[in-house]
Amino acid sequence: MSGGILFWPPAASHHAEQVDLLIGSFGAMTWLLTLPVFVLMAWFTIRYRRSRDVNRDHAPTRNLWVELGWSIIPFILTLGFYVWATMLFLDIYRPPADAVPIHVVAKQWMWKFQHPDGAREINALHVPAGRPVKLIMTSEDVIHSFYVPALRVKQDLVPGRYTSLWFDAEKPGRYPLRCAEFCGTDHSVMGGMLIVMPPQDYAAWLARNRDGGTDGTLAQAGARLFRDLGCSGCHGAASTVKAPPLGGIFGRPVALSSGDTLIADDQYLSDSILLPNKQVVAGYDPIMPTYGNVLRPEQVNALVAYLKSTRASKDSP
């Protein structure tokens, strides 16, 4: 047999250790509540078996307080763990402001990563140890799921929408990355590696992998696309076509023609490029053509990164 055995998965982050502690404590409590039941069941079965002459008088057939007791007390104990588990869960969705944003695009059957400074990689994700990393993820085709057991985190990647998650891997090392949502033929080989590096090694790795300097950072690549695709023709300050200005739009409220107002986030900006008629800005005509068939998700990510980098000013886009 070529295989081995693994008794407990490695934990690469503080969060992973917390999850281990949670399941360990909760497991202990469930044993504490269950073991007496199993013991009693076996004991009753043996003690009160047919062949034995024991006292069977006054066998109870109901007792309201006992019923309420064994319904409510375990429930309340479990609620304590519910609060703990929910707090821990909500943390995964509240990234620190200084988290490194890395874009993830999944497709059948590979993982594509874009680092903010322009480095790109496939099926391997290099991250700095001890620095929070925020993944902004989407899929090109079916639903996939980003799963790193050593981090105890998992998040589906859904076509047509962004999902995200963050982590802070503290221990340098190589940790397997797996697709956890069944995605077709080669689902089980849609793997990869999370490589956690000491920060200086990560910086060196980034410097080596910046695509030979042709693309520059993700935002610079986006700026070039913004020109090449003709976006600036309408959204630029000098344009004669009436299109909303985009400088510094990210994170700002946008009034829509439907009367709603939303905050411009990754999802909104991406939708506006791919499905421009979904949410039209108040006061503008729905004249923008769709780029859904033109752009790959990585290019949309670059455009959005560029829009995030812009500031509102007279001559900005």
Partner: protein, 548 residues
């Protein structure tokens, strides 16, 4: 102790048993007798169990090696898809309600038949039609979507006979709905005089609860699957994001059905176990009303927990927090049942026969499955273990360890009533213990695999998981022997010369034990009148196992 009769009905006359009432094919295939239809179901679900088990055997054999030498990636995906589809819709859902329920619901409430006997036959034919279509899918290219049909994989990208599979499941839904409707009307309208709601056996309460789910949940699945088929055929864009659809909408609709479907599989099992425990204990169940209403509570709350399948799907984190809370709440009525069964054994007069062994095995496995379900309801734990073998192990503990064990227990308990024959008790006890051991060896390692990070539906897996997979596969072989044993000694009992069963071999309470084994064509000679509470042990006229 009293001399008053438990049930008043005219003295037994020599009546033709339902089995002796005609031997032609026509007398079986055009029968409207609920007992004969139950046997038609027993044969057909056994067949589909074998189909599903064959797929499981392929899966477990293939997983002996990390690189999966037996099947291709596509072959493996087809094997687990067909395993899930056949086992869920063509075995687990119909198993207890359509075999034991069909046979026992009318008898237990003192009725001559179900309210709509011809509808009952129709639901079997619909089931067979959908089952044949599923078999066509197996041989005609297969399907590789998993039993969950997640979009847009199923609606756009998957290969294979997706539409045919969907149509098969869609059709089978009508069979389920008709059965549910039949049970609800029967339990409301056909109870014998004196069979008040407070005297209903707990088996009936759980079948009432499951019928509500049949009728309310199944149409949602049917419509959802039709939308998937429509998207696949004509691209209507409900779920495909490129057409403006929402893939998560499918998951909401699917789990709105499929979580209650878990309770469809487990509620009848809970009813069976309540009967097995009280009959073996010869004692009134502890907390009748708590056990009865726990079934209804599970059915109702079970409709509000579907989002716990979607904690990592991208649904709102606040929705997840609410679903997590409700999922913990739904565990309460299940726990109530377990506690009540346990106390029922206190000061009881326990006959340790095969049905009790199956029932105790059920409780152990159901508790393990339920508690790991609670772990999965905890958000931070679920994020790590969802879509891994932890989930696979969890739901097999509930569905196989729970439902299938209860089905076997029920089959052993009512076999003398259904067939009029007694089987070999020693072999039955060995089988019950073998199934319990084999099951745990198969599925306990899968909890470990899951926590260590082995995703489900993986054909090729990292080598560090191999030892646990090999243990699991060996357990599956043992489990297969355990499941094959009853097939042998139960069929053996039917051969000429097999031991005849008395009317009440277990000395159990319940109307079904007051009629002959096997029952006459219309269940009772004359109309039974119920005058006592359920589970009114000790019996007025105690009968022992050997007085047949």
């Amino acid at each position: 102790m009293t001399d008053e009769p438990r049930f008043e009905h005219p003295p037994e006359e020599a009546a033709t048993s339902y089995l002796a009432d005609g031997y032609s094919l026509r007398s079986w295939f055009l029968t409207t007798d609920h007992k004969r239809i139950a046997l038609l179901y027993l044969v057909s679900i056994t067949f589909f169990f074998l189909v599903g088990a064959g797929a499981a055997a392929l899966i477990r054999l293939d997983l002996l090696t990390p690189q999966g030498d037996l099947l291709s990636n596509d072959g493996y995906n087809r094997a687990f898809s067909i395993h899930g589809i056949v086992m869920v819709w063509f075995f687990l859902i119909p198993a207890i309600p359509n075999v034991l329920g069909n046979f026992l619901v009318p008898i237990m409430i003192g009725a001559r038949d179900l309210a709509f006997p011809r509808l009952n036959l129709l639901s079997w034919y619909i089931y067979i039609l959908s089952g044949l279509l599923t078999l066509y899918v197996v041989v005609g290219g297969g399907v590789d979507t998993g039993w969950t049909f997640y979009t847009p994989l199923s609606s756009v990208y998957a290969n294979g006979a997706v539409v045919a599979t969907i149509v098969a499941v869609f059709i089978s839904g009508f069979s389920t709905i008709l059965t549910g409707l039949n049970f609800i009307v029967t339990i409301h309208k056909l109870r014998a005089p004196g069979m008040t709601w407070s005297r209903l056996p707990l088996f009936i309460w759980s079948h009432y609860a499951v019928s509500i789910i049949f009728v309310l949940a199944t149409p949602v699945l049917a419509i959802t699957l039709l939308l998937v088929a429509a998207e696949r055929l004509i691209g209507i864009g409900v779920f495909d994001p490129r057409l403006g659809g929402d893939p998560l909408l499918f998951q909401h609709l699917f789990w709105f059905y499929s979580h209650p479907a878990v309770y469809i599989m487990v509620l009848p099992a809970l009813g069976v176990v309540s009967e097995l425990i009280t009959a073996a204990a010869h004692k009134r169940i502890f907390g009748y009303w708590f056990v009865a209403f726990a079934s209804i509570a599970i059915a109702v709350i079970g409709f509000m927990v579907w989002g716990h399948h979607m904690f990592v799907s991208g649904q709102s984190v606040y929705a997840s927090a609410v679903f997590s809370f409700l999922s913990i709440a739904v565990a309460v009525p299940s726990a109530i049942k377990v506690y009540n069964w346990t106390v029922t054994l206190y000061k009881a007069d326990i006959a340790i026969d095969a049905p009790l062994l199956f029932a105790l095995g059920f409780i152990g496995l159901f508790v393990a499955g339920g508690l790991t379900g609670l772990m999965l309801a905890m958000l931070a734990i679920d994020v790590h273990v969802t879509d891994t073998y932890f989930v696979v192990a969890h739901f097999h503990y509930i569905m196989v360890g729970g439902s299938v064990t209860a089905f076997f227990g029920g089959l052993h308990f009512w076999w003398p009533k259904i067939t009029g024959r007694l089987y070999n008790e020693t072999l039955a006890r060995i089988a019950a213990i073998l199934i319990l051991i084999g099951f745990n060896i198969t599925f306990f390692p899968q909890f470990m695999l899951g926590y260590e990070g082995m995703p489900r539906r993986y054909h090729v897996y990292p080598p560090e998981f191999q030892v646990l997979h090999v243990i699991s596969s060996m357990g599956a072989a043992l489990l297969a022997i355990g499941y094959a044993m009853p097939a042998v000694y139960l069929i053996w009992s039917l051969l000429p010369g097999g031991r005849r069963a008395p009317a009440n071999p277990w000395g159990a309470s319940g109307l079904e034990w007051t009629t002959s084994s096997p029952p006459p064509q219309h269940n009772f000679i004359g109309q039974p009148v119920v005058v006592r509470q359920p589970y009114d042990y000790p019996l007025a006229h105690p009968v022992s196992r050997d007085d047949g």
